[in-house]
Each structure stands twice: as C-alpha cells, then as structure tokens.
C-alpha cells in the first residue's frame, strides 16, 4: 500500500512557484473559478463535509470557523494567513510557501470571496526571507493575470494580499499575538473575548488560518468535501503534512493520510534510525508537545485517537530521539527555549519557565532532590492550568510527559548518574554549561 499521498503537495518542485501559467496547467485556479459560481454557504458546506481541521495545531474545524466568520455582521473583514511556523521541528508550511504559493493564494482568495474581504495578509516569519520573496512574487503574478487584485475574473470582486514579516518571536504564532504583530506592535496575546473573529486586525472581524489549511481548500472545492474526507479517518479528514526530524534516516516533510501510525511513519517512510541506535522517545507536535516511549508508536495519526490518549499532533512535527541523548539534557534545551520565548505578560509563564529552568539545571549539575522532581510536576501543572495563552499552557508538556514515562532517569540524575554520559555532575567547566 502506498504510504504517502500528494493531495496538497501535488506537483511540488515540478512548476515554477510564481508562474501562474504553470499553476494553471496543473489545474490551478479551477477551484476559484468554481467557487465564484457557488453560494458562499455551499462552499462552506463542502469544507464542513471535508472534516478539515485547522492545521496550525489547534485543530479547530475549518468549516465551522468560516461559517462563523460568514455570519459576523461587521465590515470590512480581514483574512490573515498564519505562516509564522515557529514551532521547533516544523517545516511543512515552508514547503507550500516555497513551492506552491499559488495554491495558498487561491485558498485565501476563495475565503475572501465568501467573506467579501477586501484585504488579506500572509504573515511569514522573519527566519524565512527567501519564502517571503517567493510568495511576494507569486502575489504579483496572480494580480497581473487577474486571479487576485482588482476585479478578480471579471466578477467585480477585489481582494489584495500583502506579505508581512515577523521578526523572531515564537509567541506570534498564537492568533491574537499574530494580529497584534500584524499591526506593527509587540506580539503579546490579547485577552479573549472579544475573539479575533469579531475583533481582530484594527478591531475588525478577522479570519486567521494556517498555510496548510488554506492550501487544502482548492482541492476540497474542486473535488468535493467527501472525497477529501475519504482519505482520512472517521474523525480527521484528508491528509496531513508531517515533519520528520531528529535521529531518523529520511528526515523531511511527508504528506500522509490520517490513520497512518507513528511506527509506519518512522520506520517505513522515515527508514528507521541510524545504524546501531535505539529509539528512546518521540516528541509529537514540536517543543510544546508530549514525549512518548517506543511502546506507544502504534498509535494512529488522528486528532481523536491522539486526544483519547491525552496527546496532540500539534503542527505535525515528529521528532525522533535516540538513546545517545539524555532526557534531562534534552529537557534543558526545551526549557531554555520557552524561557527565552515567554513574552512575560503573565506570571505563571514568566516565572514558571524561570523556575523550571533552575530545577532542570539542578538535575544536570547533580544537586537535585526528590523534592525537586515533585516541584517540577507542581509548577508544570500550575502553568498548564493558569497561563494566559497556549505558550505557557504547553511549555511544561515535555517535562510532565517525560516524568510520566521516564521518571527512572530523573531519579538516576538525583543519584548523579547519566546513562547517556552527557551530564557532568562534577560541576566543572563542562558540567555548568
């Protein structure tokens, strides 16, 4: 059986990314042409049937989101594409931005047509300057050919897209922080309500979707929602771009149908681990995601199946970690990341990450006690429950899951033993790091 599909990634690398002519040759803009002959609610109905859920990480049903946006009675409505792909280990939106930007533009234009939106933004992280150039060029070309800009396809409907750049802030991936940043401000999350759908960019209704979500829309409109849903499981429609990274042979972005197991993904598609190494754990959904042991790899990639086990797929990052790595040393890397990226707005996140880092360092330098282990659990739980936004809520996910499945290694560190020989408990130059 074929393990990977190409519903969204069809023709990646086969056409010039900003060439409208070449995009049309592979069926580009047929969905837009179809959509403008349909009633907006008919388009939304197809998206609902497709069971498409937001691909940025939160997995909110796209059809419902668009329906809600449709019924908001305030204009103008803005459309923002979240291309802030900041979750470490995620590089799937980059594939669409770099190789198929016109598919994203077509998806956004369909959304704009439904909502009668005059203006959209593609917010691309500052770390992707090349992608920004490619997308900007694709926008210009689409405008020249009448698929974007003024009077699209002679309908009298106008929609303009502008590329905005991030400047290095993970928290801007959160949708209200993204909107703040799009307005040129520091990207600190807003208090909700009011929700972005009612009061987003410049206080107006705003639809925010991930790159991959928009890129799924042309296929759904063209082929029908049911066909798209048919590729997935009963609960999760279609395919998912997953990013395989870490200690695995074939690292990269793969499009797989929902229902694929992690084992199939890592061993059949990813070719397994490098010679002589053993799988220690897998982190799902990036640095904010849970770490699970080898015994759980038969779980299916499906929002519902994962949720039942208390797991999430997040953005689709799958990080394979082998036995040459130390759990605590890995955790230090994760903790430093969140300590750096916390925006400082709320206390649980700002202070929690600081405390977590201090605690993890105690395990590394050999001064940790059993009490510290309990404190990590307690601080992590408080952050999960009390933080202001998703960043703080998920910053301790790796800690809590690693303690759950690998408590033994934490205890070993209390006893000054590191089985991977990475932590140096002497407190000499290397041990302090």
């Amino acid at each position: 059986m074929q393990k990977t599909l190409n519903i969204i990634t069809e023709n990646v690398g086969q056409i010039r990314p900003d060439s409208v002519d070449e995009y049309i040759k592979i069926g580009g803009f047929e969905a837009l042409k179809k959509a403008i002959t349909m009633h907006p609610l008919e388009v939304i109905e197809e998206i609902k049937k497709s069971k498409l859920q937001g691909r940025g990480g939160a997995a909110y049903p796209t059809g419902i989101k668009w329906e809600q946006a449709y019924y908001v009675d305030k204009n103008p409505k803005y459309i923002i594409c979240n291309a802030d792909e900041g979750e470490p280990g995620t590089f799937k939106d980059k594939v669409i931005l770099d190789y198929l930007p016109l598919r994203l533009i077509e998806g956004m234009t369909i959304a704009a047509y439904i909502l009668k939106s005059p203006k959209g933004f593609i917010y691309i992280r500052g770390e992707y300057p090349e992608s920004q150039r490619i997308v900007s060029s694709a926008i210009k070309e689409a405008e020249k050919m009448g698929y974007l800009g003024d009077d699209i396809l002679g309908t009298g409907f106008s929609f303009h897209i502008e590329v905005l750049s991030g400047a290095g802030a993970y928290v801007c991936g959160e949708n209200s922080a993204l909107v703040e940043s799009s307005e040129g401000k520091s990207g600190r999350p807003r208090i909700k309500p009011p929700f972005i759908k009612n009061s987003g960019y410049l206080g107006m209704p705003t639809l925010v979707n991930n790159v991959e979500t928009f890129a799924c829309v042309p296929y759904i409109v063209k082929e029908g929602g049911e066909k798209f849903a048919g590729y997935g499981t009963e609960f999760s429609g279609g395919t998912k771009l997953v990013c395989l990274s870490g200690n695995v042979k074939n690292r990269g972005v793969y499009e797989v149908p929902f229902g694929t197991t992690l084992r199939e993904l890592i061993y059949d598609i990813g070719g397994g681990l490098p010679e002589g190494r053993k799988l220690k754990f897998v982190q799902l959904g990036g640095s904010s995601g849970p770490c699970i042991p080898e015994s759980m790899l038969d779980i299916k990639i499906c929002y519902k199946d994962l949720k039942v086990k208390g797991l999430t797929l997040g953005s689709g990052a799958i990080l394979v970690v082998d036995d040459s790595n130390c759990i605590i040393d890995f955790l230090k890397c994760i903790t430093e990341f969140f300590y750096h990226e916390s925006c400082g707005k709320c206390t649980p996140c700002r202070e929690g990450n600081k405390q977590l880092l201090a605690l993890v360092n105690k395990f590394i330098n050999g001064s940790a006690t059993y009490n510290d282990l309990e404190t990590i659990k307690k601080v992590g739980q408080i952050m999960k429950e009390a933080a202001f936004c998703g960043l703080g809520e998920t910053a301790a996910t790796a800690h809590l899951s690693l303690i759950k499945y690998f408590e033994e290694e934490f205890v070993e560190h209390i006893n000054k033993k590191c089985r991977a020989n990475i932590c140096n408990f002497g407190g000499d130059k290397d041990g302090k790091r």
């Binding site: 770390e127 905005l164 400047a167 690292r251 990080l319």
Partner: protein, 158 residues
C-alpha cells in the same frame, strides 16, 4: 549627531510603507539592514518615532521584543546557530564548539575585524538537514568541521 544620509534613508523606508504605523516592524527590519553592522541605533529610533508619530517608548518596546533586532552593532555576517530540539539531538553543541574554535570567539560575540557575529537562533525550518546554521539569508546544513572551515573561508574571501 545623526548622520543626515542615514536619516534620509530612514525616511525613504517610512515613505515606502506609506507612513503606516502598522508597518513599524517592517520599517525596523529594513532600517536594520541600512549599515553593515546589522543593528538599530538609539538615534534612529528617535527618527522613526517622530516620523511615524509613535511614542519613543513604544518603538523601543517593539525593537526589544523581537529577537531579530539588535540595539548594538554586530558583525557584517551574523552566524545564527539553531538552538532548537531537532538540531540539539543531532549534536548542535558540537557545531557551536567548532564555530567558536574556528573564529576564536564565544557565542554572542563579534570577531575583532567586525566580520562575524556568533549567535543562537530559534528553529529555521531546516530540520531535515540539521544541525543547521543561517548566515545572512543562507542556510547551511549537515555540518561537519571541514564544511564549517570551508564556509568561513568562503565568507572571508568575499
């Protein structure tokens, strides 16, 4: 004293973005590229604040919120080593050690000739070729010591 030439260039950037306050981040990104030193001087913040009619403190808030901005002069080429977990498990620490050894500086420092600055970056989406670094806008992956020495030579030759 503010260099008039720089002031003129800053105003041109602001005009390019139609004097929209919402474009502050874009303006700052462009201003940072004005000199070889990859930074934004406090004096320039004043100009931006005045021209866009945004309080100085607000501009400064934005400037210090985002990690891609620097208020201190840096090298011509910024070598950004990815600090994220996928690079970490592919031993990015060794890459850090090699760069520090080859350049004779520590992370966060700039070489005496002001050519290179070494710093960390968050994920650059090059996890399929980790450990990876970004120099300017170029990404280099699957790094080894030999490769790093070659890369540095290439830039020094420029």
């Amino acid at each position: 004293m503010v260099n008039q030439e720089i002031k003129q260039k800053i105003i041109e950037i602001i005009e390019k973005y139609k004097r929209e306050k919402e474009k502050l981040v874009m303006v700052l990104l462009d201003v940072q590229k004005l000199t070889e030193f990859n930074y934004i001087d406090r004096e320039w913040v004043n100009i931006i604040a005045e021209e866009l009619d945004i309080p100085y403190t607000k501009v400064y808030d934005v400037l210090t919120f985002y990690s891609m901005f620097s208020t201190k002069p840096r090298g011509k080429y910024i070598i950004e080593i990815c600090k994220s977990a996928p690079c970490h498990v592919n031993k990015s620490k060794e890459v850090v050690a090699i760069f520090e050894e080859v350049l004779g500086i520590k992370m966060g420092e700039t070489t005496e000739d002001k050519i290179f600055t070494l710093q960390y970056t968050s994920c650059i989406g090059a996890c399929d070729i980790s450990p990876a670094v970004k120099i300017g806008e170029k990404v280099y992956g699957n790094l080894t010591k030999e490769k790093i020495i070659e890369i540095i030579k290439e830039y020094r030759g420029v």
